[in-house]
C-alpha cells in the first residue's frame, strides 16, 4: 500500500513544481559534494595556506579544482546519457557500459593513441574524434542487432552490448600488443582510467564537444519521455521516432566518446544515478534527465574523492569504485526487472 500511495503525493503537483524542487534539493547536494571533494585529498585543504603559500595555491587551482570539475563534468555526462538510453530503449538496465558504447569508444580511443596521442584533425584532438566514432559504431551495431521490426528486444540489446564490450576489449589488447612500447604503456595507463588533469585546458576542449551533446539530450527530453512510455503512442503523439533515435545516438556517442577518451571506461554511473533519481522523484523522464545530470556530477566527485584518498599516497581508478557500487545495483535491478518480464 505504501508504494501505491507515494506516487499520489508526487503527482499532486505539476511536473514544473516537482522539477524545481528536485533541482533545488540536488543543487544543494552538488554544492556540498563539491566542497567536500575540494576539501578532502592527499592533504586536507588549508584555507590559510591557500592565501599565503604560492605552491599550495598552484596545487589547488591547477590540480585539485580541475580534477573535481572534471569528475563533475564526466559524472553529469554519463548519468545523463544513461537516463536517455534507458528511456530510448525502454530498458532500465541500459547505460553506456552495458550497451557497449563505452567499449566502442575505448577501442576508438586506443586506435588514436596508438597512432599518436597528440594527433589532431582540424585542430581537434584525434582521440576525441576516434572515441566518438567508436562509440557511434558500437551503438549502431548493438541497436541494429536488438531491433526487430517495431520492437527492441531487451535481452538481445544487453547481450549485444556484452559482446560489443568483449570484442572491443580484445581489440584494445591487440592494439596494445602491436603498438610500440611507449604507446602501449600510454594505452595501458589510459585504460585504467583516471580523472587526473592539470589545469583547465583539457576541460575547455572537452566542453566544446560535450555542451552540444548535453543541449541535444535536454532538448529531446520531452520526446524521450513519450518514447519511454510507449513507442507507438509516442509516434501517434507526433514524435518523429527515427529522428529522435538518431539524435540521441549521435549525442550519446559524442558524450560517451569524449568522456571515455579523457577518463577511460567508468561504468555504472549511468545506471546508479538515474535509478536513484527515479526512486526519489518519480519516473518522468523530463525530470529524470536534468536531475541525473546534477546528481551524476555530485556522485562522481565523491567517487573520485574516495578513489584518490582511500589508499593514502596511491590512487585507485575511479572506475573501480563506481563498478564496486554499480555491480550490485545492476544485479538488484536485473532481479527486480524479471517481475516486469522485460527480459
Amino acid at each position: 500500500m505504501i508504494s501505491n500511495q507515494r506516487p499520489e503525493i508526487k503527482n499532486q503537483q505539476p511536473t514544473t513544481v516537482r522539477l524545481r524542487r528536485a533541482l533545488a534539493l540536488l543543487t544543494c547536494v552538488l554544492i556540498a559534494a563539491t566542497l567536500l571533494a575540494l576539501w578532502v585529498g592527499y592533504q586536507r585543504l588549508d584555507l590559510a595556506a591557500l592565501q599565503t603559500d604560492e605552491r599550495a595555491r598552484a596545487v589547488f587551482f591547477q590540480l585539485r579544482l580541475p580534477r573535481v570539475v572534471m569528475a563533475g563534468i564526466v559524472g553529469a555526462s554519463l548519468a545523463m546519457v544513461g537516463a536517455a538510453l534507458q528511456a530510448l530503449f525502454r530498458n532500465p538496465l541500459a547505460e553506456p557500459l552495458t550497451l557497449g558504447v563505452s567499449g566502442g569508444g575505448a577501442l576508438g580511443a586506443s586506435v588514436a593513441i596508438a597512432l599518436g596521442a597528440g594527433a589532431r584533425v582540424a585542430g581537434l584532438p584525434l582521440v576525441f574524434i576516434a572515441a566518438f566514432i567508436g562509440a557511434g559504431v558500437a551503438v549502431m551495431v548493438v541497436y541494429r542487432l536488438a531491433r526487430t521490426g517495431a520492437t527492441v528486444l531487451p535481452g538481445a540489446l544487453l547481450l549485444a552490448g556484452v559482446v560489443m564490450n568483449t570484442v572491443a576489449a580484445a581489440g584494445v589488447v591487440f592494439i596494445q600488443y602491436f603498438a610500440d612500447y611507449s604507446r602501449a604503456l600510454q594505452i595501458l595507463r589510459w585504460t585504467i582510467g583516471s580523472l587526473d588533469v592539470v589545469g583547465f585546458d583539457l576541460i575547455w576542449r572537452m566542453l566544446i564537444f560535450l555542451v552540444p551533446g548535453w543541449v541535444v539530450l535536454f532538448a529531446m527530453s520531452r520526446d524521450l519521455h513519450l518514447l519511454a512510455v510507449d513507442e507507438e503512442t509516442a509516434a501517434s503523439l507526433g514524435v518523429n521516432v527515427r529522428r529522435s533515435e538518431r539524435l540521441v545516438y549521435a549525442a550519446s556517442s559524442l558524450i560517451v566518446g569524449v568522456t571515455v577518451a579523457v577518463g577511460g571506461t567508468i561504468g555504472f554511473v549511468g545506471l546508479i544515478v538515474p535509478h536513484a533519481v527515479r526512486l526519489l522523484f518519480g519516473e518522468d523522464v523530463r525530470l529524470v534527465l536534468p536531475c541525473s545530470f546534477v546528481l551524476g556530477a555530485a556522485f562522481l566527485m565523491l567517487a573520485d574523492m574516495v578513489a584518490r584518498t582511500v589508499l593514502g599516497a596511491g590512487e585507485l581508478p575511479v572506475g573501480a569504485i563506481t563498478a564496486l557500487a554499480g555491480g550490485p545495483v545492476f544485479l538488484w535491478l536485473l532481479r527486480r526487472q524479471q517481475r516486469y518480464s522485460a527480459l
Binding site: 503527482n11 505539476p14 520531452r222 510507449d230 503512442t233 509516442a234 503523439l237 507526433g238 514524435v239
Partner: protein
C-alpha cells in the same frame, strides 16, 4: 470541446477520413499487408473495422492515423492530405490507441494520461493545471479515476486499456482510432467502452473507428461497419447490411459463420 466556428468553418462533407487505394508493406519486397484499401469514415459516426486475423486491420488503422506512411494511395483528413499535416497538429485532431502498450517503467496512470497533452505543450514547457484537469477528467470519463496514482506496470490488461483510452481522450481529438480496445476487457467493461464511445459521439460529435473482433457489439451500437479481407475493404455499410451470412463467410473465409437478428440486434457465431 470544439468551438462552433470549427464545425461551421470546416468543409461540411460527410467523410472525416477518406482513404483511396492504400498500399503498405513492412519491408521492401515483403508482401503487401494493405493492398488497395479504400474507405471513408463518416464524420461524427461510430465505425467498426472487422476482418480475420492478419487481414491488415491494424496496419490500415495506423495508416489512417498517420503513424505509418502508405507506399501507395492517399489518406485525407477533413479534406486535407494527412501527409501534409504537421505531426503534432495531427495529434491534436486524431488520437490512436494501440493494441497493447508495454510499459517497462512504473509510470503512474495519470502520467501516462498526461502524455496525451503533449501535443498542446511546447518542447520546454510542462503541463499546467489545466492539462492536469483535462487528464483527470479523461480518466473520470472512462471510470478509471481511481487508477490515477497506480503504477501502470501493476495494472491488469483491461485497466491498461482504460488508461490508454483516457490518454487518447486527453488529446481532445475529433477522431479516435482504436485497435482492438475491447480485447482485454470483461463483459461489463466491453459494454461500458461502447457506451463511452456512443456518449462521446452524441455529446462531442466524436468520430471513432474501432478495430474489433467483438461482432456481438456492432449492431445496433455502431453506425458503420467495414469488412476487410487480404488487405482491402470488401464490404461496408450499416451493421445489419454487413453482418450477413454470405458477407461474413467471405470476410472470415469460414462458411460456418451465422448471423441472425433477434431482440433488435444481430447475433453472430460460428457453427462448431
Amino acid at each position: 470541446m470544439k468551438g462552433e466556428g470549427d464545425i461551421v468553418g470546416s468543409k461540411q462533407s460527410d467523410a472525416l477520413i477518406e482513404a483511396r487505394s492504400l498500399r503498405y508493406s513492412y519491408a521492401r519486397g515483403a508482401p503487401e499487408v494493405v493492398s488497395g484499401a479504400s474507405l471513408s469514415v463518416g464524420r461524427g459516426r461510430l465505425s467498426a473495422l472487422i476482418g480475420a486475423n492478419g487481414s491488415g486491420k491494424s496496419t490500415l488503422i495506423r495508416l489512417l492515423g498517420g503513424i505509418l506512411k502508405p507506399s501507395g494511395g492517399e489518406v485525407s483528413f477533413d479534406g486535407v492530405p494527412l501527409a501534409s499535416v504537421e505531426p503534432r497538429a495531427r495529434a491534436r485532431r486524431i488520437a490512436y490507441v494501440p493494441q497493447t502498450i508495454s510499459s517497462v517503467f512504473p509510470f503512474t496512470a495519470l502520467e501516462v494520461v498526461l502524455t496525451g497533452r503533449s501535443p498542446y505543450t511546447t518542447r520546454f514547457r510542462f503541463e499546467g493545471e489545466r492539462d492536469l484537469e483535462v487528464a483527470r477528467a479523461a480518466l473520470d470519463a472512462v471510470d478509471a479515476l481511481h487508477l490515477a496514482a497506480r503504477p501502470v506496470t501493476e495494472l491488469s490488461g483491461g485497466e491498461h486499456q482504460l488508461v490508454a483510452l483516457a490518454r487518447a481522450l486527453a488529446q481532445e481529438p475529433e477522431c479516435l482510432l482504436l485497435d482492438e480496445p475491447s480485447a482485454a476487457l470483461d463483459l461489463k467493461h466491453r459494454a461500458g467502452l461502447v457506451r463511452h464511445l456512443r456518449r462521446l459521439r452524441d455529446e462531442r460529435g466524436m468520430t471513432a473507428l474501432v478495430v474489433t473482433h467483438d461482432l456481438l457489439l456492432l449492431d445496433p451500437a455502431f453506425d458503420q461497419v467495414f469488412a476487410m479481407r487480404c488487405g482491402s475493404i470488401t464490404a461496408s455499410g450499416a451493421p445489419s447490411e454487413v453482418l450477413r451470412d454470405e458477407v461474413l463467410a467471405e470476410t472470415y473465409g469460414d462458411e460456418h459463420v451465422r448471423a441472425r437478428q433477434a431482440f433488435g440486434r444481430t447475433f453472430v457465431w460460428s457453427e462448431l
